[in-house]
């Protein structure tokens, strides 16, 4: 397997997956660079979330390779791994419909993000040994730090159940930050948010990139957010690659306009 370039963190090449004969993703390739905020756009049903599910190994692609530069510094072929293994390499995701545990507090939900870093085993946890306690307290402190950064530290003990969407999105984001990720994948981060919340979220995404030195890959419907926050964008339609470039280039691209922006302008 070829190692990735110095500046590339994720490289997807010739990715294809079909469900019952229908090609949801057909020969899509793009690369995400270190420290980049990269957007994946396309009309409804274009296959964006499917690409995400392939990257995080919830779906196994029929064809193509997904290479990732892990936080350990090696190039990893993700398709050879299981979905619970990818976080260990520094790749973590959020979900379109917010997948939090509603019976747990905000703090406990965030702590789930630190799951893989725990060194003490179940037996030492059962007897609540000194090392187990120290480790738990250290991660608690880290989680509180993250919640502080996102401005929801004062609600850390609230149950997630019934909280407004804007806060839930932040809790999910906080959870991804627990594992010191190299690349965060955000599935429609602005869905369900109002205008001020979306604006706020754009700032949060940028600050995360700068403060935690991560790259961010996001799928989004809200064009203002995408054009505002992304360094580069890849557009797909009906599972096929259309174009990749800066927001300006994408806005000017004829194929993209025809497939997506064009129809929206006409409307």
């Amino acid at each position: 397997m070829n190692d990735l370039n110095e500046q590339t963190v994720l490289s997807i090449s010739e990715l294809s997956i079909a469900f019952g004969g229908i090609k949801a993703v057909d020969n899509v390739s793009f690369e995400v660079n270190e420290g980049e905020i990269f957007g994946l756009i396309g009309p409804n049903g274009a296959g964006k979330t499917t690409v995400f599910n392939c990257i995080t190994q919830f779906y196994k692609p029929n064809h193509g390779s997904i290479r990732f530069k892990s936080k350990q510094g090696q190039t990893v072929e993700l398709t050879h791994h299981k979905s619970h293994e990818v976080i260990g390499y520094g790749l973590v995701r959020t979900f379109q419909n917010v997948e939090l545990i509603k019976e747990l507090s905000i703090l406990d939900n965030v702590l789930i993000g630190g799951h893989i870093d725990y060194k003490t085993g179940v037996v030492r946890q059962a007897f609540s040994t000194k090392t187990a306690k120290m480790e738990e307290n250290a991660y608690r402190a880290q989680a509180i730090e993250i919640l502080k950064f996102l401005g929801i530290e004062d609600r850390k003990d609230w149950l997630v159940y019934g909280l407004p969407y804007g806060i839930l999105k932040k809790v999910e984001l906080a959870r991804t930050l627990m594992c010191n990720p190299k690349l965060i994948i955000l599935d429609e981060p602005a869905a369900g948010l109002n205008d001020t919340e979306t604006l706020d979220f754009a700032n949060v995404i940028r600050t995360i990139r700068d403060k935690y030195h991560t790259s961010i890959l996001l799928v989004e419907h809200d064009m203002r957010l995408v054009m505002d926050v992304c360094d580069r964008i890849c557009a797909i339609n009906f599972g096929k690659f259309l174009a990749v470039g800066t927001p300006k280039e994408i806005q000017r691209n004829k194929a993209v306009q025809a497939a997506y922006l064009g129809t929206e302008d006409a409307a």
Binding site: T49, N53, F58, F95, Q96, E99
Partner: protein, 295 residues
């Protein structure tokens, strides 16, 4: 061949009993989203009622059975009106426990009203047997087999071909939509509970002459019916019925043909083990469809 026929006929008879009980469980599951653990207990209660009508009410057996069917129907309606109808909004897992409470109430009532002593209940058709391909079978067994099959055919005919059946099927597939479309889902659920009660007492009356009527008369039937539902799949009405006959046939065959190998006492365990292995490979049962989860 004669032995095989004998085994097959006996299996069809027990299969009918399991199938009736399983059908009761699946009707409740599909219309109320409740696992009916009390199907056997309620059937037991009404079988006791039949026995009482027969022994102490001095009614002819057929009338006693009809009376038992009536009490079963009423009991089903009552359970729906008093409990199930008011429990729509509670969490699915808690809902399952309601029928456990029902078991306790029914067991307590049965032992209070009918006592704890086992009572005999005769066969509906006394005496008389004839030969089929070398196998001997009693008229009562034939009646049980034919009656079970006829009843289920009637049920499936109503389910597939009539307006009432359509109402049941729409309620089963999506209760909310059905209600919005004007299906009287409340009545459907009530009739389902009544029907399950009737199926329970019929299963009880069929199996009781072979044993005695006591508090545990339908325990084994309840368990086999539940397993039949898993084997056949909870997503269709006829899957559990097929599952019930398969279990009955497999059990009788293994117990008999396994005898030389010393497998007879292990027959039931072997059948259960095979079913376990089967559902590992076909998690949704014989008829079940796979449900794909979306992230």
């Amino acid at each position: 061949m004669a032995i095989f026929m004998q085994l097959l006929l006996r299996s069809l008879e027990t299969g009918s009993v399991y199938a009736l009980a399983a059908l009761g469980i699946i009707i409740i599951y599909r219309t109320s989203n409740i696992t009916h653990f009390a199907q056997g207990a309620m059937g037991m209660f009404n079988t006791f009622a039949v026995t009482f009508f027969f022994l102490y009410g001095r009614m002819p057996l057929w009338l006693a059975i009809l009376m038992g069917v009536a009490t079963a129907f009423l009991m089903g309606v009552l359970v729906d009106l008093v409990i199930i109808r008011r429990a729509k909004r509670i969490a699915p897992i808690s809902k399952q426990i309601i029928t456990l409470g029902l078991i306790m109430v029914v067991l307590g009532l049965a032992s209070t009203v009918f006592g704890v002593d086992p009572l005999p209940l005769p066969k509906l058709i006394q005496g008389g047997e004839f030969d089929v391909l070398g196998a001997t079978i009693s008229y009562n067994a034939v009646f049980n087999i034919v009656f079970g099959l006829a009843l289920m055919s009637l049920f499936f005919y109503i389910l597939q071909r009539t307006k009432w059946g359509l109402a049941v099927r729409t309620t089963a597939s999506n209760e909310l939509t059905a209600r919005l479309m004007g299906v009287p889902t409340k009545t459907v659920t009530m009739v389902a509970w009544a029907l399950a009660g009737v199926l329970g007492v019929l299963a009880g009356v069929m199996i009781a002459p072979a044993t005695k009527v006591d508090l545990n008369v339908l325990d084994a039937v309840q368990i086999n019916a539940l397993i039949a539902c898993v084997l056949g799949g909870f997503q269709s009405f006829y899957g559990p019925v097929i599952g019930a006959y398969i279990i009955a046939i497999a059990k009788n065959m293994i117990v008999f043909y396994g005898q030389p190998l010393g497998l007879d006492v292990w027959g039931e365990q072997l059948v259960l083990l095979s079913i376990l292995i089967f559902i590992i490979f076909r998690p949704n049962g014989i008829i079940g469809k796979k449900i794909v989860k979306k992230v």
